[in-house]
Symmetry: C2
Subunit: 138 residues, 2 copies
């Protein structure tokens, strides 16, 4: 099963201690939808394995973000988490609040260089805001 290998190799790559709770959270993120809140993750993972507490889900998410296995997205209300299997940007609907993924594209290098000046850029985050297809049809 592919998921399991992905999770194990992610731990191997990352120098993070592999605990069952970390395994459960990361594997859930690989298997489920992006943009989940910590609370959603806690509910799902704790249901499957009650040996995972709320505080630990928060701890684990921080560790995974720190180890670059998971990406944190600051939205209104609660933070949202994505396993970083592939890079992508986001679209947020003004009307219904849905967060949709957009395929990855690069900011042209010349523009990026001009904008960044002397700062060292690690990541470019692009979020489009507007009206999603579903809301636009009404």
């Amino acid at each position: 099963m592919k998921d399991r290998q992905d999770v194990e190799s992610a731990f191997a790559r990352s120098n993070l201690r592999r605990t069952s709770q970390r395994y459960d959270v990361l594997s859930w993120l690989y298997r489920h939808k992006r943009h989940a809140t910590a609370e959603e993750i806690f509910a799902a993972v704790n249901k499957a394995n009650p040996r995972v507490s709320r505080a630990t889900v928060y701890n684990v998410l921080h560790a995974l973000v720190e180890g670059r296995l998971v990406r944190q997205l600051n939205a209104e209300g609660a933070a949202r988490y994505d396993a970083t299997l592939d890079r992508h940007h986001h679209f947020i609907c003004d009307t219904c609040g849905a967060i949709e993924d957009l395929e990855w594209f690069d900011l042209p290098a010349a523009i990026l260089r001009g904008a960044a000046g002397r700062r060292a850029v690690r990541e470019t985050e692009i979020t489009l805001h507007g009206v999603c297809e579903r809301c636009g049809r009404k």
Copy 2:
């Protein structure tokens, strides 16, 4: 004095009822640094005019965002607010957490169109993450 005119004309443009609390908040945003949290705004405005309560600052900020006079930035922890006198992007330092403004630049139209598909885009938000000049020098 220029500020006052800006604030008044912003209310005229926006169809928002002009109350003294709204005036105080918007005028403070015009006169002070960007990226202030609601709490910072409350502290400053309430000090100058105790007739402004915390709840009202939150109400007012929502109304101003709704009326497009102010932009809301979702960062870690608390939301941050900018009066939208000019458009700009942001840089957030991984090390010290500072939020710096970047001059406005457009995402090339062809790229934007490709990314958006059929969605109606109202705004493009670009946030660069990395290490700021000050932290990079250490």
